[in-house]
Amino acid sequence: MRDIFIVAIKAIIVNKVRSLLTMLGVIIGVGSVVLLTSIGTGLQAYVEDQFAALGTDTIYVVPGTPFAEGGGVGGQQSVIERTKPVLKKQYLKEILHDNRDLIKDGLLMAMSIKNVKYGDKEKKISLLGTTANFETVYNTKAEKGDWFTKIDNEKKSSVVMLGPTVAEEFFGKIDPIGKKIKIGSKTYRVVGILEEKGGGFGGPSFDSYIYLPLETMYDDLDVQFINNFTLEAKEGVLIKDAIKAVKKTLLKDMDEDEFTVVDQAKLLETINGILGMFTIGLGGISAISLVVGGIGIMNIMLVSVTERTREIGLRKALGATPNTILIQFLTEAALLSITGGMVGLIIAYLGSLALQPYFPAKVTMDAVIMAFGVSTAVGLFFGAAPAKKAAGLSPIEALRYE
C-alpha cells in the first residue's frame, strides 16, 4: 500500500501543472460548497444568538399569519398582513386582564424610521415606541440615566432612551444625558442610555434604536400602527398553555387569520427552517461545480492511462495483478481529489475569515468532514472508469503500444 502511494504521488508530481489544473475543479467545487454553507450556517447561528438575547419566556402577538403556508418572515403576505392595523391597544389590556394567572406582563411596540439630528450630525434612525415596562419584559436596563416612566408615557413627555450604538454615533465621548436631539421637527431630551444587548428580530440590533414613550410617538410622529405585543409568561407556566389562552382572548375581537401568537421557539424554528433550505440550496448549486471538477479528474485520468499504457503493460508483465493496477489508479485519482478538496477547504476557511467582519460566516466541523468525504468520493467515483480501463489492459497489447 505504501508503494502504491509513492507511485501515485510520483505520478502527480511528475505532471505538476496538469495535476494542479485537474485539482482546480475540485478546489473550486469544495471551496464554494464549504464557503457557501458556512455563510448559511453562520447566518443560522447569528439568528439563534439574536433570539437568545431576548429571553425564552416571551410570547409575541403579531398581525397576520406570517408563519402559515404562503407566509414566511419577510414573505410577500407577511408584509401585507403586517401593515394591516389589526392590533389595538385595547386587546393588550384584555389579554393582561383575562390571563392574569398566566401572563406576568406585556407591552406593545410601534416602530418607525425618522431623521434624527444632533448638532451638525444627521442620520435616519429606527424608532421604537413602547412602554416603561420594556425594561423588565426585555430585561434591558439603563446603562446611564434612567428609563422613562409610566407617567412620561401618559403625559406624552418628549424624552428618549438611546441604544448604545446610537449614543456612540451621535455623542461619541460626550455624556448624552440631558442633551437635546431633534427627531423630525420636534425636540427630545435624552434621559438614558441602554446597556448593550444585541438581538433585534433579525432586523437592526436593539442597540441601534431610539426608544420613546408609545403615546409620545403616536402623538408626535404620526404613527398609528402596532407592530406587536410582547408578553412575558409567568414563571413555571407552560408556554403552550399561555399561547392557547392568549389566542382565546384575542379570538373574541379578531378573526383567526388576522393575528398570530408565537413564542421564541416557534419563531426560531421558522427562521432556521428557511435558513436551512437556503443553506442546502447554496450547497446544492455549488455542488454542481464539484461534479464538473470530478469530470475533469476522470478526463485527465483517462489521458493518463492512455499515456502510460506501456508502463501499465510493463508493470503487469513484472507481476502487478489487475487489482494492483486498479488500486494504483484509484489512489491517484483520490489523491488528486482529496488534495484539491483540502486546498479548497483552506481557501474557503480563509474566505470565511475575510467575510467575518461583514458577515457571520462559520466553517463547521461538519463542513470539513463533508469536504473530505465528498472529495474522496468524487475521486473514487470519477477515477473508477479510468482505473478499470487500466486494470483491463492486456500486458502484450500494452507493451506493444507506442
Partner: protein, 240 residues
C-alpha cells in the same frame, strides 16, 4: 474475412530443460513472438497446454499468472521498457514491489543485481542519464532480481550498437553458465549463435530444432529458411 481463423501457432510442441539456452529465429509472422508471449504467460492459449516445472499452468487466471510471471519469469525487452524518470535502483526493484518484499531487502537485492551487471556506480541514475547498453543492463538486473527460473529475452541486442550488444550477449552467456534457463528471440544469426539450441519457426510451425555447433551453421539454416519463403512467394505470384 470474419470466419477465417489465422493460426499464429499450429501444432507446436517444445520441451525445454532447466539450464538450456534457446535461440528462437524465424521470419516476421512466423509465430516466434506469439510463442514467446504464450510461453511467458503474457498471452492465453486458445488450445493446447503449458507445463512449467511439471505443473499444468494453462488454466491459470490473471492473478495466478501475475504471480507466476513475478516469481518464475524474467523479461528482457528490445526497447528495455524501463520506467522513465525513475532511478536504476527503483527500476530494478519493481518486481520485488509486486512480490511484496520489504524496503531494505529490496534495496539490498537491487544493488546486488546492479553490481552484477556492472552498474554498481549508477544506482541513482535515471534511464535518460544512461546509455542504451547501460539501460539494457538495468533491464537485465530487473529480470534477475526476483531470482526467476526462466529468462525470456526478446531481441535483447536489437536496439544496441555492436559494442553494447556484445556486452549484453556476454552477460547472457554468463547467466546461462550460472544455470539460468534463457529463451531468446532474435533474427540476427550472430546473436543466435551464443545459444546452445536453435529453434526456427515458420508459418506457425517449428521447422528446425537442433543443437548449435557453429555460427556459420546458424547463418546457413536461417538463410535457407528465409530464401525458401521468398521462393514460395514468387511461386504464388507466377501462378497468378
Amino acid at each position: 474475412m470474419g470466419d477465417n481463423v489465422i493460426k499464429a501457432l499450429n501444432n507446436v510442441s517444445l520441451e525445454i530443460e532447466e539450464g538450456e539456452f534457446l535461440a528462437i529465429m524465424g521470419p516476421s509472422g512466423s509465430g516466434k513472438s506469439t510463442f514467446l508471449q504464450v510461453a511467458s504467460m503474457l498471452a492465453h492459449l486458445t488450445s493446447g497446454q503449458i507445463n512449467l516445472k511439471g505443473k499444468d499452468v494453462t488454466e491459470y487466471n490473471e492473478i495466478e499468472r501475475s504471480k507466476l510471471r513475478n516469481q518464475e519469469i524474467g523479461f528482457i525487452f528490445q526497447q528495455f521498457n524501463l520506467l522513465p524518470r525513475t532511478s536504476a535502483i527503483d527500476n530494478v526493484a519493481l518486481p520485488l514491489v509486486y512480490a511484496k518484499v520489504n524496503n531494505s531487502e529490496r534495496d539490498r537485492r537491487s544493488i546486488e543485481m546492479l553490481q552484477k551487471v556492472g552498474l554498481g556506480d549508477r544506482l541513482q541514475n535515471t534511464p535518460a542519464q544512461l546509455s542504451g547498453g547501460q539501460q539494457q543492463r538495468v533491464a537485465i538486473a530487473r529480470a534477475l532480481v526476483n531470482n526467476p527460473s526462466i529468462i525470456f529475452a526478446d531481441e535483447p541486442a536489437g536496439n544496441l550498437d555492436s559494442k553494447s550488444g556484445e556486452e549484453i550477449k556476454k552477460l547472457l552467456i554468463d547467466l546461462n553458465k550460472e544455470g539460468k534457463t534463457i529463451i531468446m528471440v532474435t533474427h540476427e544469426p550472430d546473436d543466435a549463435s551464443i545459444a546452445k539450441r536453435l529453434v526456427i519457426f515458420k508459418d506457425g510451425e517449428i521447422v528446425n530444432d537442433s543443437k548449435i555447433k557453429s555460427k556459420k551453421e546458424v547463418e546457413k539454416k536461417n538463410h535457407n529458411i528465409i530464401q525458401d519463403k521468398l521462393s514460395k512467394k514468387t511461386k504464388l505470384k507466377k501462378k497468378k
